[in-house]
Symmetry: C2
Subunit: 363 residues, 2 copies
C-alpha cells in the first residue's frame, strides 16, 4: 500500500519497530531521559530557543491549546483564513469566547500580507493573529515570512498552525517571531498520530500569565513545570508514540533539517510536474503551492470518489479527497515525512492507469 | 522488567506486535470497520446500551471531556473526593467555572454513601455528582453501587472516573445509572496510553444539549456525529493505539468480562495477602481495598524512594510511590490489565529481598 494522504503519513520500518517496545514507567528515569532528549532536538527543528512542549492529543488539540493558553474570552483575534484549517482555527477561538475577525481569502489562493496589514491598521484592538502556515485542504503554503513581519510591525501575538509544514517546510520560529507554533507527530515527523508539539515564546508566556480562557488538560504552564522539574508530563503520555517520535527525531538529526527541507522541495516539485504531465491542473498557482501536499482540480467528467476507490482497490495507492466545499472538486496527494521522488513516480504510474477508468479523458 | 505500576500497565506480546502495523487512512474503510467493531465491544465492557466514544488523549482528557460536555459555568456540582484523583476531578470542574462542593473523605478511606445523601439533601441546587470509582492514589474502591443509588434518588447527573476500574472491576454503567463513565487505554485495557474511552447516557446527551462550558477538541456531539455518519473520529486518531486496543478487546472477548473481573479479584486478594505476609500493612481496610492497585503503608525506618530504587535497579521490578500528601508514606503495586497470580508472586519475591535493604525490619 502506498499511503499518500497528508497524514497519517507512512512510517519508516525502523520507527514502526520501536512502537512494539514494552511500556515503561512514565514517572521513571528512562522516560525523563527520552523526553529531555526529544525536547532538545525539537527545539532545533522548531528553530527556537523558547520552550517546546509535547502534548498527548491530535494536532487540533494543539491548536486548542495554543488558543486557550494565550487568550481570554472577549479578546479580539484576527484569523487569516484561506481554507478548511484556517476556519477550524477561527472556530476554536470563537468556541472559547474570543471575538473573531476572519480575514478570508479564496480557497486555493494564498493569504495576502498587505491585507493583513490593512486589517491590523483598521482595528487596533486586535490582540493576536492566527495563521495557518500550510493549508492542507488546498495545498497552499502561506507566505509566513511576510505575514509574520507584518504582525511584528504591529507587535501582536502570533499563533501558527504549522501542523502540516513544520519538519518539512522551513519555519524559523524565532526569526519570524512566532509565539506559539503547533505541529503534530503524524505529519512531516514520520511518527504515528497521538502527539502535538508546540513551541512557546517568551511573549506567549507573558500572555499565558494573563490568559483567562479555561484550561486544564492543555495547560502549558503545568506542562512546562513538569518537564523542567521532573522531566515528565502532567498526564500519562502516549508512551509508544513517544518511542516513535524519539526514533524519528534521531533520523531527522542524521539527515539534517536543511536536507529534509530540500527533499520536500524536490518531492513537491516532482509531484506538481507529474500532475501536469498527466494533463491535470493544480488548484493553487505554482508559486505558492505546498511542498507537502498537492491539490489537483478534478477535471470535467472525473468522479473523485470513483478515482480514489480505483486507486485504493486496484493500485494500492491511497490519496485524499477534498474537504467541505472542495469535496468532489479536488483530490490531494500527501508527500510529507517519509517520502522521496520514487514514491511520487509510483503515484503518477497509479494515476496514469486509474484516471481513464474514473472518467478522465486527457486532451 | 516487571512493570507493576497502576498504568501504563504491561502489554501482552501479541498486542505489542500490532503496534508495529503501518499507518492507514483514518478516513478510509479499514478504520471505519475497526472503530465500529471496537465500539460494539466497548459497549459490552461498559455494560451500556448508550454511546461509547473513543477520544485521543489521556484519561485526564476524558475527565475534562466528561465535565465540559455536560455542565455550564456556574453549575453546582458535588465532588465525592477521597484521594488525589477525586481532587483532580474537582479541580477540572472548578477550572471550567463550576461551583464545586468537595465532599471529602480521609485518604485511604472510602466515600460514605449516607454522607452523599446528606450533602444532596442539604443542597438541592446541585446538578451533578462526580465520583472516582477506584481511587488509584490510595488503593480504595468506592462503593459506587450504593453511591449511584443515592444519586438516582435525587435524580442528579452522575459522572464517573472509572479510569483504573473499568475493564477490571465490575461496573454495570446502565444498571447503576452512570451518565458519563471515563476510562483510559493504559489501565485495565492492556493497551498503551493515548486513548480515553467514555460512555454517554441519554440523560448526559440531554445535559449536553444545554451545557455551555466551552469545548471543541473534546466535543462529544461531534464525536458521535462522526462515528455514526462516517465511522470516523473528528480529529486524526492515535491509529496505532487503536490497533492495540482493538486487539486487546478481542482478548477481552475471548476471556469474557466476568472472567476478567474474577481474575482481578483473585490477583488483588493475592497481593493483599502477600503484602501482609511480609509484615506490612495496607493503607485501606481490606473491605474496600482495590483489586487493581494495592497501597502499602511505609513502616518506620523504610525509605520509600530507596525501596523503589532498589526494586528497579536490582530486582527489575517497578512499583509506584505515593502521590502528593502520601509521597514517602506509601508505595503501590499496580495489578490491573495483563496480570496473573504468578506476577504477584514475583513482586513479593522481589520485595522480600529489597525491603530489608531499604531499612525495613520485620517484627
Amino acid at each position: 500500500m502506498q499511503l499518500r494522504i497528508p497524514g497519517p503519513t507512512p512510517i519508516p520500518p525502523e520507527i514502526l519497530q520501536v512502537m512494539s517496545r514494552q511500556m515503561i514507567n512514565h514517572r521513571g528515569p528512562q522516560f525523563t531521559e527520552m523526553i529531555q532528549s526529544m525536547t532538545a532536538t525539537l527545539k532545533e527543528m522548531f528553530q527556537t530557543k523558547g520552550d517546546v512542549l509535547i502534548l498527548t492529543g491530535s494536532g487540533t488539540g494543539g491548536m486548542e491549546a495554543a488558543i486557550v493558553n494565550t487568550l481570554s474570552p472577549g479578546d479580539k483575534v484576527l484569523v487569516v483564513s484561506n481554507g478548511f484549517f484556517g476556519e477550524r482555527f477561527a472556530d476554536i477561538a470563537e468556541q472559547f469566547g474570543a471575538q473573531v475577525e476572519r480575514l478570508r481569502f479564496e480557497w486555493g489562493y494564498p493569504a495576502d500580507p498587505p491585507a493583513v496589514r490593512q486589517a491590523l491598521s483598521q482595528d487596533t484592538g486586535i490582540k493576536a493573529v492566527l495563521v495557518t502556515h500550510n493549508e492542507t485542504s488546498t495545498g497552499v503554503t502561506n507566505d509566513l515570512a511576510s505575514i509574520s513581519a507584518v504582525v511584528r510591525e504591529f507587535d501582536k501575538l502570533l499563533l501558527v498552525d504549522a501542523i502540516s509544514s513544520l519538519g518539512a517546510i522551513d519555519l524559523p520560529s524565532d526569526e519570524w517571531g512566532c509565539d506559539v507554533v503547533v505541529t503534530a507527530s503524524q505529519k512531516g515527523w514520520m511518527a504515528p498520530p497521538g502527539l502535538a508539539m508546540v513551541s512557546v515564546s517568551q511573549r506567549a508566556w507573558q500572555a499565558n500569565a494573563e490568559a483567562k480562557m479555561p484550561r486544564y488538560y492543555w495547560d502549558f504552564a503545568k506542562a512546562k513545570r513538569f518537564l523542567e522539574e521532573k522531566g515528565q508530563t502532567p498526564w500519562t503520555p502516549a508512551v509508544s508514540v513517544f518511542y516513535a517520535l524519539a526514533a524519528a527525531l534521531e533520523m531527522f538529526k542524521r539527515e539534517g533539517l536543511a536536507n529534509v527541507v530540500a527533499r520536500h522541495i524536490r518531492v513537491g516539485s516532482k509531484a506538481r510536474e507529474g500532475v501536469k504531465s498527466l494533463g491535470l491542473s493544480l488548484l493553487p498557482e505554482d508559486s505558492h503551492a505546498s511542498n507537502t501536499v498537492t491539490a489537483i482540480k478534478a477535471p470535467e467528467g472525473l468522479e473523485v470518489k470513483r478515482l480514489l476507490g480505483i486507486l485504493r482497490e486496484e493500485q494500492g495507492t491511497i490519496l485524499a479527497g477534498g474537504q467541505q466545499r472542495l469535496d468532489g472538486k479536488i483530490f490531494r496527494i500527501g508527500h510529507l515525512g517519509y517520502v522521496n521522488e520514487e514514491d511520487i513516480e509510483q503515484v503518477m504510474e497509479a494515476l496514469k492507469v486509474a484516471l481513464p477508468q474514473a472518467g478522465f479523458r486527457s486532451r
